[in-house]
């Protein structure tokens, strides 16, 4: 029986590999870098003895021509013979791994599990990566007829601009903000500032989205160690608790959705997570949201209830989500600047909020934050997860 605001699980540690064009490294090597990072942050855990199951997200076998990755990653992380399962819901694959980890602990079956994700994307050409990512769209009516992933978000952006007057400049400000934050994150893919001028004058990918409106094709891996809330103290003095977990689905094809300017799956997931946590959007101190394209972050502000529908453009213009604003969003640099190795992203967001709530976020630390939120979208929005975390 779930009680509002009661911890579902504890996050006792989290780890991240460096994100970027990690030449010379395969996905599994990046994954154990993330596991090693988590272990360093939580030296009291005995991974081999304590971890009873592994859940890992990866979107596509095509990048490395490698399927059946879960037991292989358990092996490389030194966790054999613990059971291991891969989860796949496009760019939300590791939030799914996290949620399966939560379920496995809530079921009473396991006390400690390891969740994470990875994607090794940059050894492929941009065209190949575009094709593999496109597989998350509806094949007979989207891929076949010529739309790309940036194209699907561009269709949402055009609709949002037409309906609400959202501008290319407002979308550009999301990129400027996230690059500013990413410049402060030593694990980010692109650690440099960009100007609004540079964003607006970058080359067109899918009108109205330009190169700097798009997240990066990156390599990287993430992990988190979850425990039953009542035993977290065995492993760390500073656990973070997951107090809300929501997930929603929608039609795979964008054209089948009633509203092209909002993600129903995200609104559903948010409502479920807020209700479980017993909190309101205004209680959130820091958030990592799925900015696969700048318009996606603007829509996320609205779907998560941080502002009203149609006001996402003004929300960024007013500076609210800036690092020194009232509600800092994507302090990590987001998918835009930290990078977007798709299968790693969901748990990478948990990693950032874990750092923020335990005071380990370095130059991008938000002072006095207690409640954080993550929002991870699969594909063009057929899947969305929202998780709410609270400091110990």
């Amino acid at each position: 029986m779930l009680v509002k605001g009661k911890p579902l699980v504890a996050v006792v540690s989290a780890g991240l590999s460096k994100f970027g064009k990690m030449e010379g490294f395969t996905g599994r090597e990046l994954f154990i870098e993330a596991v090693g990072d988590a272990l360093q942050r939580c030296p009291d855990i005995n991974l081999r003895k304590d971890v009873k199951a592994v859940f890992v997200g990866m979107m596509s076998e095509s990048f490395e021509h490698q399927g059946h990755i879960a037991p292989m990653l358990a092996d490389w992380a030194g966790l054999l013979p613990a059971p291991a399962i891969r989860t796949e819901v496009a760019c939300a694959s590791s939030a799914a791994a996290l949620r399966m980890g939560i379920f496995s602990i809530l079921s009473g079956l396991y006390d400690v599990v390891l969740v994470g994700g990875l994607e090794k994307m940059t050894k492929r050409s941009t065209l190949e990566a575009t094709e593999f990512l496109g597989m998350a769209a509806d094949f007979p009516f989207e891929q076949w007829t010529g739309v790309t992933f940036p194209g699907l978000y561009a269709l949402m952006a055009t609709a949002h601009m037409h309906r609400y007057g959202t501008t290319e400049e407002q979308m550009g400000l999301v990129a400027v903000k996230n690059h500013h934050n990413g410049a402060l994150n030593p694990k980010a893919h692109l650690q440099r500032e960009v100007t609004l001028d540079k964003v607006l004058n970058s080359r067109m990918i899918a009108y109205p989205l330009k190169l700097y409106d798009c997240s990066l094709i990156s390599d990287g891996a993430s992990c988190a160690i979850l425990t039953r809330p009542d035993i977290a103290g065995k492993y760390t003095d500073k656990p973070v608790y997951i107090i809300g977990s929501g997930q929603g689905s929608d039609s795979l094809a964008l054209s089948q959705r009633d509203d092209l300017t909002s993600l129903r799956a995200a609104r559903y997931a948010a409502r479920e997570a807020y209700e479980m946590a017993g909190i309101k959007p205004r209680d959130i101190d820091v958030a990592e949201v799925h900015d696969c394209f700048t318009i996606a972050e603007i829509i996320a502000y609205e779907d998560l209830g941080f502002c009203k529908r149609g006001e996402g453009g003004r929300f960024i213009e007013d500076g609210t989500p800036m690092l020194d604003g009232e509600l800092p969003i994507n302090t990590s640099g987001g998918l835009k600047s930290k990078g977007h190795p798709v299968g790693a992203t969901g748990v990478a967001q948990i990693y950032e909020v874990f750092l923020q709530l335990t005071g380990q976020a370095g130059k991008r630390q938000v002072e006095g934050c207690d409640i954080g939120l993550t929002h991870n979208v699969g594909g063009s929005g057929a899947t969305c997860f929202v998780h709410i975390l609270k400091g110990g």
């Binding site: 940036p150 067109m204 899918a206 009108y207 054209s255 092209l260």
Partner: protein
């Protein structure tokens, strides 16, 4: 099902939708029990789970509800870039996404009327479905 089995009505499948397209017909499925319409067709109604369906032929004119101009495409379509792409709202709110041709990019507007046109030759590539496009009505 063996080839000797002759169905009375063509199956309500995506393959059949594309077979109709190659005959220059835009066909949707309608649930006889609850009236829900499907484009693409579905063999079982997701609203009431009925298997009693019939085919309806749609008007090919519709209203453009959103669009983009794609500059980076997968290898199969890279030779066509930049190309316009949008979602057309047809009768009864049914929607179809597709490429837009025959109009300069800077003249494309949300709300404009376009019509579905059919390319009858099936593609050589898997899965060998014909293509369709949207263009200004004649």
């Amino acid at each position: 099902m063996g080839k000797e089995d002759e169905c009375e009505a063509p199956q309500f499948t995506i393959e059949q939708f594309y077979r109709f397209l190659s005959e220059k017909k835009l066909m949707a499925a309608r649930c006889i029990k609850c009236g829900t319409k499907y484009l693409p067709p579905r063999p079982i109604c997701s609203n009431c789970y009925s298997r009693s369906l019939d085919w309806i032929q749609l008007e090919t004119r519709g209203k453009l509800i959103t669009y983009t101009i794609i500059h980076v495409a997968p290898p199969r379509l890279q030779s066509l870039v930049p190309y316009a792409y949008g979602i057309l709202e047809l009768e009864d709110g049914l929607r179809l996404p597709g490429m837009i041709r025959g109009i300069p990019d800077n003249e494309i507007r949300i709300g404009m009327e376009l019509e579905v046109t059919f390319e009858s030759a099936a593609s050589e590539d898997w899965p060998k479905w014909p293509m369709y496009y949207f263009k200004p009505p004649r």
